[in-house]
């Protein structure tokens, strides 16, 4: 055991008294002695015991720690950082509208704020406890005493450091003896603080340099132009065994990876038993002027409601829920009538970003005078205006029957904006009149 005791190298120079320690018989004696040392006005001292003693902090006169306030401040900082970070990235620096949701909304940001409060608090508690206890501390005067090892076994010690202004070799050891210490000892350390060997600094500097190599290597490899392909750490994610759209393939004679339907076959539900319903044109190539219904189908309220439902999903984002601002509404806030996409695009275009052709007003005569078949074709194939595509085709997203339902709903919208008073059912008319101020 004795070889483990730190042996002070006497050749290092003169030894200096660094602390006085006294060993007491019991926890009770230690507490009583601590109270006396406290009352003597010592500041740089400590009590050491093999197990925690309740109430020793009061006997020693230790003031309540400020750590809770540090943790509290760190928690508030965490909350503020989280909220500011999310507000700045989502609402200011890179606003990106998703499903019409607000750019900044508190409920969505609470989870991150909650986690950062905990992270900041935990780190502050950990670092604060270390710093306030002046840890890590690699050496202490009491380690010079061999008897002090009993502090982890059966010894109750008080150590008073020589740095204390009240410290006096004779008076302090006398005090400890008077308090009933079973043994009192002066711990001596070399006058000059021991220095770390030079090799330690060399090794540390080397370790830091070595640790910098991997990130430097990665940065260099990523930045420098290369003849070889880049290294892909996750190879099967970067190169998946699949064909992308429009890719080439050696497997097929025509070289295309995307396969056209086999000649003479029709996919399920795609059979055009009535070409008018598929194209909106009759045999002569003229647009149909009424909606060609499937056998057994009828134009009813369910079909209008289906058209309304699909319209609100696919058309309203650009055209607006009412199909655009009618002429009668001139002078009103135009954005009130526009769809979400249209509003944003128009704002960006006004700011010099990109171009935007405002969508047609669907209740206008220009649209409403078109035959049903023409409306159907526009929904299906979109609009190309002077070689610029201003509306995409929706044949892929919207099934054929739903596109006809939308045509029906467009007619209802047209009626709603261009109706005469006589066409409004009497109960509705009275209700709207009575609401007038």
């Amino acid at each position: 055991m004795a070889d483990n005791v730190p042996q002070l190298d006497s050749s290092a120079g003169a030894l200096k008294v660094a602390a006085a320690i006294g060993r007491f018989a019991s926890a009770g004696a230690l507490k009583a002695a601590a109270e006396a040392v406290r009352d003597e006005g010592y500041r740089h001292w400590d009590a050491h015991s093999p197990y925690p003693i309740h109430g020793i902090e009061r006997s020693m006169g230790i003031r309540p720690t400020v750590l809770p306030w540090l943790v509290f401040g760190a928690g508030l900082t965490g909350a503020a950082v989280a909220i500011l970070l999310q507000w700045w990235t989502n609402a200011v620096d890179y606003p990106f509208l998703i499903s019409g949701k607000p750019l900044f909304s508190l409920p969505a940001n609470i989870p991150v704020a909650f986690e950062l409060v905990i992270l900041f608090s935990a780190l502050a508690a950990f670092a604060g406890a270390l710093l306030l206890s002046r840890l890590p501390q690699f050496h202490h005067p009491v380690f010079a005493s061999e008897e002090f090892r009993r502090a982890t076994c059966d010894g109750f010690f008080i150590s008073i450091e020589a740095s204390d202004p009240e410290f006096d070799e004779v008076k302090t050891t006398g005090l400890l003896e008077a308090l009933g210490a079973e043994s009192v000892e002066l711990c001596r350390l070399p006058a000059a603080a021991p220095r770390l060997p030079r090799a330690f600094y060399t090794a540390a500097a080397l370790a830091v340099c070595l640790a910098l190599l991997p990130p430097l290597g990665v940065a260099w490899y990523r930045a420098a132009p290369k003849r070889q392909p880049r290294i892909h750490p996750l190879h099967d994610m970067a190169f998946q065994p699949k064909y992308k759209a429009q890719a080439a393939s050696d497997l097929f004679a025509d070289g295309r990876a995307m396969r056209p339907p086999v000649a003479g076959t029709v996919a399920r539900g795609e059979l055009d038993e009535d070409p008018r319903r598929a194209t909106g044109k009759d045999e002569a190539g003229n647009y149909v002027t009424s909606i060609p219904l499937a056998p057994g189908a009828a134009i009813d309220k369910a079909m209008i409601l289906r058209g309304k439902d699909r319209f609100r999903i696919y058309c309203a984002p650009c055209h607006g829920l009412a199909g655009g601002m009618p002429e009668g509404a001139a002078g009103e806030d135009a954005e009130k009538w526009q769809g979400m996409v249209s509003i944003r695009a128009a704002r960006r275009a006004a700011g010099g970003e990109g171009t935007w052709t405002p969508p047609r007003v669907l209740t206008s005569a220009y649209v409403q005078d078109q035959p049903d078949g023409k409306l159907f074709e526009t929904i299906s194939r979109g609009v190309v205006n002077q070689e610029v595509r201003t509306m995409p085709g929706y044949a892929v997203q919207i099934p054929r029957e739903d596109r006809w339902a939308i045509v029906l709903y467009l007619r209802a919208l047209g009626r709603s904006q261009n109706a005469s008073a006589g066409e409004v059912p009497p109960p509705v008319r009275e209700a709207s009149v009575s609401e007038e101020p």
Binding site: P52, H54, P107, A108, F114
Partner: protein
Amino acid sequence: MRDQVKRFRSGELRALGEIAPRAIKIALAIAAAALALAIVAATFDEQGPRRFFFSYLVNYAFYLSISLGALIFVALQHASRAGWSVTVRRLNEILAANMPLLAVLFLPVAISLFLPRWCPFSWADAERAAGSELIAHKRVYLNVPFFLIRAGVYLGLWAWMARFFLSRSVRQDESGDPELTLQMERFSGPAIVLFGFSVTFASFDWLMSLEPEWFSSIYGVYYFSGAAVGSLAAVILLAIALQSGGRLTESITVEHYHDLGKLLLAFVVFWGYIAFSQYMLIWYANIPEETTWYLARQTPAWLWASLALLLGHLLIPLVGMISRQAKRRKAILGFWAAWLLAFHWLDMHYLAMPSLSNARFPLGLVDLGLLVGLGGLYVAGAIRVAQAASLVPARDPRLGEAISFENV
């Protein structure tokens, strides 16, 4: 430590003693008057008996939650072999052992099922449930016989578990046999599992099924988190009241209040965490069949109740109780306990009442009468249980540890 225990055992602080019979009489008299008031008030209410049954359900859920929170507290102390809590454990055992009374008090809820027009549960009324395909699909679970069987199982299970802990603990007062502690420790694990399932399904049955088309899988945890807040607050107030009456003055120290306060604060945050977890998922997904529940609670009449819960059940007590001193000073801790108990009641009101009407916030003599009335019965029942036992597990092996316990 040994001296403390000896001094403590010789003290007079063991049982309620001679004040119990009088206290029971007073509590029952108050209960009778308050219940009569509630019934009279309900007959003058425009929503009449249904209003009464709704309010009854709210107050029943409130008092039940106190006993349930006490039951899980006891099981948790045994599961974790906690030493500090021994001196407050008996109070929880007594509150939990009030379960037979709560089983009797469940009868009006059961009876309401057979009065379709007055019943708070719309699924039990063929007229109101007609035309709802969802309720028709849930018939396998939501039907009167199965509902009553389940209620019997929950209440029987809880009463049995509470009895298990109290009877062994009381037996130990006589024998001091540490084997009894081991028995309770062994049972505590399974008891927590049984408790988790039964409370989850009971809250589904008795509160969530008020909106039979709506569902939230976190609902059981939500009710449990509120129950923990309610019962800890109740135990703190109970300890303060008993100490001001000269009982338990040596066994419950500032350290125990500090720890009860810490648990209370932790469960306040837990309640907020659970409530927000439920809110955020529904808010974010924004699916009509889920948002209806919050929509009803954001009508002008209920919005202020929702905000009051956010502030009064979470943010204000969180800030108010976070300091060490707030938990160590009896007056401050007692204030927060009373505050949280009131907001826990509002939480129960908020869970159930919008199903009655989301056009107005119902609060009247019916609610007050039932709150005081059921409270009187609950207190009388608890005193009756307490009569048979001392207020501290006097020979618990960890009693010394509990008395000399200190928060470092």
